[in-house]
């Protein structure tokens, strides 16, 4: 059994108890993905599996045979940051930095979900293409806790990147 992590094939672990999170961190040395609670409550372990965000602590590694997994290390490195990572730095979207890779992985997936027209619990008209409001972003990021309380700065970073990159429409008035 194998999974492709950040473009490289790796054999999955023998211990069926090993979570995807612990496999990434302990066996592959990809410690950018963080363990904050191990119970799917904080979002620090968020990674992308076949493009969708999941809590890697809630998923056993052996369930990922054939999957393509992307972690924060694939999004951008310290000397070649992705736009979202640069925006996090510029807006101070973190303090201690521990929840940050999860926030960024989550936000990366959020942007594709919006682009694909996924509705959220606060979407007014679920049949229409979602409009990017502050409330939409807050709702869609709420699985990622930040105890330092950098939430406003994280939303500011997201808004900047969505405005610069996306075909997504930002409702400035609703965001204000």
């Amino acid at each position: 059994m194998h999974a492709r992590v950040n473009g490289t094939e790796h054999p999955l672990p023998h211990d069926s108890r090993r979570t995807l999170l612990d496999w990434l961190r302990e066996d592959l040395g990809l410690t950018g993905t963080k363990k904050g609670c191990d119970h799917g409550q904080c979002g620090a372990c968020t990674v992308l599996v076949d493009g969708r965000r999941i809590n890697s602590c809630l998923s056993l590694a052996q369930l990922h045979d054939g999957d393509a997994i992307e972690t924060i290390e694939a999004i951008g490195s310290a000397d070649a940051l992705a736009p979202l990572q640069r925006a996090f730095v510029a807006h101070d979207g973190f303090q201690c930095g521990y929840c940050t890779p999860g926030q960024i992985c989550s936000a990366t997936a959020l942007m594709s979900e919006l682009a694909e027209g996924w509705a959220s619990a606060v979407t007014e008209d679920i049949a229409a293409a979602p409009v990017v409001t502050r409330a939409e972003l807050q709702e869609r990021m709420s699985g990622n806790l930040c105890r330092c309380g950098a939430y406003s700065n994280i939303i500011a970073a997201l808004e900047e990147v969505i405005a610069a990159e996306g075909p997504l429409r930002i409702d400035a008035e609703a965001s204000a």
């Binding site: 211990d15 108890r17 090993r18 612990d22 961190r25 302990e26 990809l30 410690t31 950018g32 993905t33 963080k34 363990k35 904050g36 609670c37 191990d38 119970h39 409550q41 904080c42 620090a44 924060i72 290390e73 951008g76 490195s77 310290a78 000397d79 940051l81 990572q85 996090f88 730095v89 510029a90 101070d92 973190f94 303090q95 201690c96 930095g97 521990y98 929840c99 940050t100 890779p101 960024i104 502050r134 409330a135 972003l137 807050q138 709702e139 990021m141 709420s142 699985g143 990622n144 806790l145 930040c146 105890r147 330092c148 309380g149 950098a150 939430y151 406003s152 700065n153 994280i154 204000a176």
Partner: protein, 748 residues
């Protein structure tokens, strides 16, 4: 190099050096230098050091509240795959060390003092093996013969006056209350809180002969070294701690705790490095809690709204013999006037995990209650709550008469009111309705004591014109990497790219550590003084007086001469260690950071659900060292205020003392959806009594009173005054006005 002052900070340094240097780095909203590492997952946190042959330890927690361990059935567990040891060593700790303890907390885990106390550690080859074995381990207990109560309100609970908290008494409060034109006598309670830093507590312990290396998540390394050494009966100089990145602390990592000693003991026993990471549930159950409080506030005011009597009495709790008692009345001592006063904290001895510092111990819960009571007084008088506060700022600290170093409270109230649009607030409740929501506005003062602690830092100016700042100061998200670099760059006239900052290693000079909002001003002052010593040398080499020396963009000038700084250093680096200790200024002046909070809330007319719609905070904390990281500190504090006001509460089961909500699903910290856009205003201030930087602490200020503003906004919205935090909907719903009676409500 002899500097024109001693280590002790005895006189305010009025030179305001940082206003005369020319590099332009101080105060600038520079990005955190470690930011790229953090956003790319490349910063190494304590669990992430890859040590060869490292074994895994998992703690086992007591399933009774009090008693003794009769037997640990280790054999069946030792037969499980990969399990190497089951350890319940006498050195292991029952409690966590308090901040700055510098010595071992209560040891010996054969005695159980509270439900969830660690009693053993299981060590195995892999985490999964150790976790399963820890779950399988059977422990037999003998229950305590004379248990202490589980409930601070129990009549059986022994209540003491804490050793370091003398009541403050002046005049005759009872008489003042009787004779006052307006009197408020109210009782509030606040629940226990958890720090809940995102990174769980972790230690990797490695012995190299008789030397111990710990890679761990701690806030105050120079103290932590002494604590762990005392636990293990070894010399502090045999211990090295490495902690360059700490995933949040908020008080919970001030002192060493269970996992550190367990890892060190286990590593010694099996002769291999051992990593012990606490589970999230273990962090909640065993590390540290903020005590719940019951607070009585009495306010007596004359007809003009001047406070003539002030009482603030609090009951908090802790384990027996524990010194720490939540200093609830700490800011009440100096904030408002009223010569007839009684301030008092008492501590009930109970069986719950150690109570200690959680972000802004004292003010976090004391200020939110005082400020809610002030709102009640303003309502009783019929006075604008801002005016009431402005009218009651004493000229010197009541009773003791100490002068204030600097106090920007009026400025904060005014700047915040303007930005927030306070003039549009309806003075009476239940005036604004938007659909199903009542809208209201509230204000509260912010105050947090300012503290300096001893700190050292080394600054090296290299022949290539770069500088290195070194100290064991931690950066727990506070911005130490950023501001220490900015101070050095400013003092040495170097662009920020030329300054490197190394932190979090006890081989470096002992910084203040992160806690009590004192890291920046203490360690920052040490950096400044090291740079001053270097400046003296540079002036001499250039041939001018130190006062004439100008350093900018790598060039030194003065006395009509000019030369590149690198040229002055020549082949040997200039290294100086700066040092500062609190001195007379700490006693001669009342030092505190101040501010004001403004909140707009919506309260659902049918359910009582409260949403914070916007918040403004204005703060004066001396010189701003980095406007970006300082703003983030204030922002984060206000987010804690939202949690404290609306959701956060440790719930203990009074039958067996177990913590019911011991994880992040049940202990509700604010999430993205709970936090609106928050406006932060940083006021321009200099406070020479606080530090040579003219800066004061900011790390905790943003929480100190914030929840009070939200409580006051809720009252303004729907007319309900709840005196029990958090203000959840169940406490509001039966007191809400008739939602179908729109006659009193304007629909916006």
């Amino acid at each position: 190099m002899r500097l024109p002052f001693s280590d002790m900070y005895n006189r305010p340094d009025e030179r305001n050096l940082l206003d005369r240097t020319g590099q332009g780095l101080i105060g600038k909203p520079l990005d955190r230098p470690e930011g790229p590492l953090k956003v790319s997952g490349a910063a190494t946190y304590s669990a992430e050091w890859n040590l060869p042959n490292c074994a895994e330890g998992v703690l086992v927690l007591a399933s009774i509240p009090q008693g003794t361990v009769r037997e640990i059935h280790a054999d069946p567990v030792l037969a499980m795959p990969g399990v190497m040891a089951v350890i319940a060593d006498k050195a292991m700790v029952r409690r966590s060390a308090q901040g700055t303890a510098g010595k071992a907390p209560a040891q010996d885990v054969t005695t159980v003092e509270y439900f969830g106390q660690p009693v053993a550690v299981v060590v195995a080859e892999t985490f999964e093996q150790a976790r399963d074995a820890a779950l399988a381990l059977r422990v037999d207990y003998d229950p305590a013969e004379k248990p202490v109560p589980l409930d601070p309100e129990s009549p059986q609970a022994e209540v003491e006056t804490p050793s370091d908290s003398k009541p403050i008494e002046g005049g005759d409060l009872d008489a003042a209350m009787r004779e006052a034109a307006f009197a408020i006598d109210v009782s509030y309670d606040t629940p226990g809180h958890a720090s809940a830093a995102m990174e769980p507590h972790v230690t990797i312990a490695e012995w190299q002969d008789d030397r111990l290396i710990l890679r761990g998540s701690y806030q105050m390394l120079s103290h932590n070294v002494k604590e762990i050494a005392d636990c293990l009966s070894i010399k502090p100089d045999k211990v090295r701690i490495i902690a360059p990145y700490v995933g949040g602390g908020f008080g919970s990592k001030l002192g060493i705790t269970h996992e550190a000693v367990a890892a060190a003991v286990a590593a010694r026993e099996i002769g291999r490095p051992v990593r012990v990471v606490m589970t999230r549930q273990q962090v909640f159950q065993t590390v540290m809690r903020r005590s719940e409080t019951r607070q009585r506030v009495r306010l007596a005011a004359d007809a003009g709204g001047r406070i003539v009597g002030l009482g603030h009495e609090a009951l908090v709790s802790n384990l027996p013999q524990e010194d720490f008692a939540e200093p609830v009345t700490q800011a009440t001592e100096f904030l408002y006037g009223g010569d007839n006063r009684l301030l008092k904290v008492e501590v009930a001895r109970i069986s719950r995990l150690t109570a200690g510092s959680v972000r802004a111990p004292g003010e976090a819960v004391g200020m939110q209650v005082l400020e809610a009571a002030m709102d009640e007084l303003a309502e009783a008088i019929g006075m604008d709550p801002i005016e009431l506060r402005k009218r009651n700022l004493p000229a010197t600290v009541p009773v003791e008469g100490t002068p204030y170093s600097s106090r920007m409270l009026v400025e904060a109230l005014e700047a915040g009111a303007k930005a927030f649009g306070w003039d549009r607030r309806q003075p009476t409740p239940c005036q604004t309705r938007e659909g199903d929501w009542w809208i209201g506005h509230g204000v509260a003062s912010a105050a947090r004591v300012n503290m300096m602690v001893p700190a050292e830092a080394r600054v090296t100016l290299n022949p290539d014109g770069s500088a290195l700042v070194e100290t064991d100061q931690t950066d727990i998200g506070t911005g130490s990497y950023a501001i220490l670099g900015q101070i050095a760059g400013e003092m040495l006239g170097l662009p920020i790219e030329r300054v490197k900052v190394e932190l979090g290693d006890t081989r470096l000079p002992a910084g203040a550590g992160s806690g009590g909002s004192f890291g920046a001003i203490s360690t920052g002052s040490a950096v400044m003084r090291a740079c001053e010593a270097i400046r003296e040398t540079l002036a001499k080499k250039l041939g001018c007086e130190a006062e004439e020396l100008q350093l900018k963009d790598g060039v030194a000038s003065g006395g009509g001469k000019q030369q590149p700084i690198a040229g002055l250093v020549q082949e040997k680096p200039l290294a100086e260690t700066g040092s500062i200790k609190p001195g007379k200024t700490a006693k001669d002046f009342s030092q505190a950071s101040y501010g004001a909070f403004f909140a707009e809330v919506a309260v659902h007319a049918f359910t009582g659900e409260t949403r914070v719609r916007r918040m403004t905070g204005a703060f004066g904390f001396g010189r701003v060292l980095n406007a970006k990281t300082a703003r983030s500190q204030c922002l984060g504090g206000m987010v804690w205020g939202i949690g404290s006001a609306l959701t956060e509460e440790l719930a203990f089961d009074l039958r067996d003392g177990h913590l019911v909500n011991h994880d992040l699903a049940e202990y509700h910290v604010p999430v993205h959806a709970d936090v609106p856009a928050i406006e932060v205003i940083l006021l321009e201030e200099r406070d020479a009594a606080a530090s040579p930087l003219q800066a004061k602490g900011v790390g905790e200020l943003g929480i100190c009173g914030a929840a009070g503003a939200i409580a006051n906004a809720i009252h303004n919205a729907c007319g309900v005054r709840v005196r029990s935090f958090p203000l959840t909907l169940d406490k509001l719903i039966d007191q809400l006005p008739d939602p179908f009676a729109p006659a009193t409500a304007k629909v916006a």
